[in-house]
Symmetry: C2
């Protein structure tokens, strides 16, 4: 049996293990130092009460013969898909129910969608980048072309007509940079993709953090996107589902390549290799869209956004260049005094007991930059900011 | 962008849609006829009380900041993996915790594991077969070789030294035939696989239905299997998790091809393209292994097995040849009087109001055979058997 030798080309990522090792070593030397983690990409607030209550009800249903649910539709229950449809309608974006596929999260779908594409496609990814976009394509042996995201373009790279691409990854609000494309920029991407006959894989996992109403929360707010884009969304950061696992992917019916509808291919892929999201979880997810759920989710996001504002204010006061933090839970700052990402990491850890994420871990253009996140506790965030201020 | 054109080679399956159409047409003509479904492959009993109670607790934990769980380990929580370890220990089969990967179900893993294998491998599948084995390999463009399962070999095909194979699918207890390999048979498969340098993908989703203690419930009861087999298990049929989604896959550390450990590859695949099973679901699954949980699960399985016994007795009385039904929820019978699978389907539907599954839907060797299942309600099963008897 021959293995898939593309796995040999995968690079090991030592980013988070190196961070853990450095923190451990520091704490061994300074056991009384309180560490504040502003590098965390995971939520810390509990599930909204509406979700908890819907899941309790669903658990009870599953415990009684007359209300028990066995296999559900692989692509998700109608009660959740119509709720998602309603959520899009507010933008306004009109979706058909059959264009919405409920899944166990954006990460799974971003990886699995590649099943539909030939190996001999060229993939365009921004640098710095969420490592999953790169690794999933390396595993399939695809050629990857990087586009530079940097200070000059505000970490929002634009299409280059000279570059040929088949599969294009866009993430807005961006992880790790927090930068958000505006509509004219996304329109340029849509036009480019259509000229190239390419598909845009649009990662909208952080859309709920956008409060500026002029910014697009879905690529389907852009004319022509239904002919060239798939959108990936998640309840993870919106409603605290990182450990509860639910997301959804939108595949418009217009999306046709080589005479074949991607929507039909994805349906076939999911019905063959997936068996749907737990009924209990789908019930919880649908409660996110209730009036009560939306109010509670907004309160959680406001809490994280206030954290982001507190960090952003501190960076502004210190004259540190950054993106994100306004319509995103991430702040991406330029390390002061020409420090490298890891130098700044060591500096913050040893001088202030603050742990962030070195930008160099997300690609070559991340060198000299640093990611802070707003997912921490309010008191800790405030204390971190005071510690930062006292460094000057 | 070029799509994966292997999708064009997929055959549409009309099996269950044709069944639905025929039943609908019959009911339109005979609105008062009570239909009994003995074709159903889904469980009907609710989740065991121990599972329900564990999931309520977990939902409460997720609703409080101090006990909230965000991202968990992609390969599953230790509390569940050690419980699974203990479950295997009773066979006795010794597994390391790192050899167990918790997933959202056997169907997902059976499809996704193929990511690890080169396209140019030859796949050996039995006919009749669970269609997922075939479709997932067609999607990847692999060459498929069929082995005949038939009345002569009791629907338990044995290895043929003349046939070259790289990836071998075995399912025991089998879906759709209910046939179960004994240890010497599996040993022959293990020896064959090792000689060929092949990997066995062993689908043990129905292991909990085995009560004959001489029959293997895991391929790892066989010497040498750790060098050539991956095992796929599920809580679906064992504990009623078809709509709750949890399974586990065992990848032994000895499993090495081309100098690469499959265990490391699978870990890399899952950490890249998967984000773990919901905490709530893993808590529910771990309750299956509590003393109370095991008692409740056994009661459910006994219920289904009693249904199987009732059907089997009826078949015996009528002199109908069948496999399964004893250590399996499936009964696979030879259609009487030389009827074809669909002729017998029509006969049972129109003469007795019973709906089963035509064997022809599972491959060419299924023609002339018919699948009945034990997952129905006791009263309905009894009534079905009476109706069958009155046909003579």
């Amino acid at each position: 049996m021959r293995i898939n030798e593309n796995y040999w080309k995968l690079q090991d990522s030592y980013l988070f293990s190196t961070i853990a090792k450095k923190v451990k070593a520091f704490l061994a030397e300074h056991p009384d130092q309180k560490i504040i983690r502003l590098g965390i990409g995971d939520v810390t607030l509990p599930l909204p009460a509406a979700v908890v209550s819907a899941m309790h009800e669903a658990v009870d249903e599953m415990g009684k013969k007359e209300s028990f649910h066995g296999y559900g539709p692989e692509q998700g229950y109608s009660f959740l898909k119509t709720a998602i449809q309603g959520y899009y309608a507010r933008l306004p974006v009109k979706l058909e129910e059959e264009e919405i596929f409920v899944s166990d999260g954006a990460k799974s779908d971003l990886g699995n969608i590649l099943d539909l594409f030939d190996r001999h496609n060229t993939v365009l990814v921004p640098d710095p980048v969420y490592p999953v976009y790169v690794d999933t394509n390396v595993m399939a042996g695809r050629n990857i072309v990087y586009m530079n995201a940097n200070e000059l373009n505000g970490f929002l790279p634009m299409p280059d007509g000279q570059v040929q691409a088949d599969i294009i990854y866009l993430c807005s609000p961006n992880n790790p940079t927090g930068a958000v494309y505006h509509k004219t920029q996304l329109k340029a991407w849509v036009d480019y993709a259509r000229r190239q006959g390419a598909v845009i894989l649009f990662d909208a996992a952080y859309e709920a953090f956008i409060s500026d109403e002029s910014l697009p929360r879905s690529i389907f707010e852009i004319d022509g996107a239904r002919e060239c884009a798939v959108e990936f969304c998640s309840f993870s950061k919106t409603a605290g589902f990182t450990g509860t696992r639910c997301g959804y992917t939108v595949v418009p019916k217009e999306l046709t390549y080589g005479g074949t509808k991607l929507n039909s291919m994805w349906l076939r892929r999911q019905t063959t290799k997936f068996n749907g999201v737990p009924y209990i979880v789908q019930k919880g997810a649908s409660a996110v869209f209730s009036e009560e759920g939306q109010r509670q989710v907004k309160a959680n996001i406001d809490y994280y956004k206030e954290n982001a504002r507190i960090i952003a204010d501190a960076l502004k006061k210190q004259g540190i260049w950054y993106t994100g933090g306004e319509n995103s839970p991430y702040l991406w700052l330029k390390c002061p005094e020409g420090k490298s990402s890891w130098e700044y990491f060591d500096y913050l850890l040893t001088q202030a007991g603050i742990v962030g994420t070195p930008g160099a871990g997300f690609g070559k253009n991340g060198e000299g930059f640093f990611r802070l996140t707003a997912f921490g506790d309010r008191e800790n965030t405030k204390e971190a900011v005071q510690r930062l201020a006292s460094l000057r």
